[in-house]
Point group: C2
Chain length 227, copies 2
């Protein structure tokens, strides 16, 4: 089948969005590895590479606007473009959080560390990375059912966060020498938690893509922290 | 002049976006006041009212998609719809951060507090609120020049954050009883800092709205925290 120019453009947009997602997944993985392995060079790499993620977002936005303006797509084609337009902002912010984690790596050096907490952060980040990769897969398959399942996993992320929070505060109280790194642990954990929220946003866009319905999959994120 | 249905719709969309912005500005103001005045009831109000902000975002999205699909707007009309589509996500997240601040209020009760830091947070939040109100004004006037000026103020926000960070760590080291509230202060300050980043995003959309150009007004946000 010969594709029209529009179909070519749409396929390219789709592939670039996925590529951007892989870049972000990679950035999250690298930033947490840098943080837990105390690898300053790797952290700098994440900061440097974020430019490419930002460039990709701008490229996707420009192309989306152009396609809407010039080709006036309707129904499912328009839905795909809108999904990419909206979800690319979520990806971009996930990338920003990876940068923040990388910066914490650079800052934390030389402080008294808490290996137990670093282990918990690694476990949390493995879980987050799985979610990120799963959501990219669900996007490729336009699988609304998978997207709904992935969004539910955000509760697990919150549980990780709450445990890290409680444990870190205990360490900080017991030894003031751990206050600076303890604060960084809490920041990194909260960045990971927020990455989980962005994954949920993307899940909502996948549901929209495949059903045309705008839904909220997770209205009470972090609500458990209220009491 | 008699307006067409499309013009009516666009005006309504525009007004609802501004209204959403005012709701968010109000939420930020209230959440910080609740936090610094230890006002649990006000904090709960912010959490409750966030539903309205989320509903407004969904309403704006639905209407935007519908207008693009059915009326196939071009040039400046399309630009306005795209701006609202993208910037409403930024507003919604600013609202989420206000909720996070409100939740910190509810959590911090009963802990040893640091009045000096609370004063710094109030000053920072006054500054953030000014930025939020200014960006809504710039939006109404489609004033790209003002938007560029507002984005520059983000540096000042980062300076506030860095001071609060350094001072809070000092207090936490000196008195472990302040560790829980100190950590909340740092969280609230980081939420305010991020609200500043979202304001910058909206500034970028205002520049797009009035010039058609996608720009990055602030690529190195929080870069000062790297060293």
């Amino acid at each position: 089948m010969l594709r029209t120019q529009f179909e070519e453009d749409l396929l390219k947009l789709h592939n670039q969005f996925y590529e951007m997602g892989m870049m972000v997944s990679d950035a999250i993985h690298k930033s947490v590895r840098a943080f837990t392995k105390h690898d300053k060079e790797l952290a700098k790499e994440v900061v440097k590479d974020d430019v490419n993620i930002n460039d990709m977002e701008i490229k996707l936005e420009k192309k989306s606007f152009e396609m809407i303006a010039l080709q006036q797509p309707v129904t499912t084609d328009l839905r795909m473009i809108i999904t990419i337009m909206k979800a690319s902002s979520d990806l971009e912010r996930m990338g920003d959080h990876a940068v923040s984690i990388a910066k914490a790596t650079i800052r934390v050096k030389g402080q008294t560390r808490i290996p137990e907490i670093e282990k918990e952060i690694t476990a949390m980040s493995d879980y987050v990375k799985e979610m990120v990769d799963a959501v990219l897969n669900a996007y490729i398959k336009e699988d609304a059912k998978a997207a709904r399942e992935i969004a539910k996993k955000d509760e697990e992320i919150n549980a990780h966060f709450n445990k890290i929070y409680a444990d870190t505060i205990d360490y900080m109280k017991a030894d003031p020498e751990t206050i600076v790194s303890g604060n960084d642990y809490l920041h990194v954990a909260s960045f990971l938690e927020r990455i989980g929220d962005y994954v949920t946003n993307i899940c909502e866009w996948i549901v929209y893509l495949s059903t045309g319905k705008i839904t909220e999959l997770n209205t009470n994120h972090s609500m458990d922290q209220i009491s």
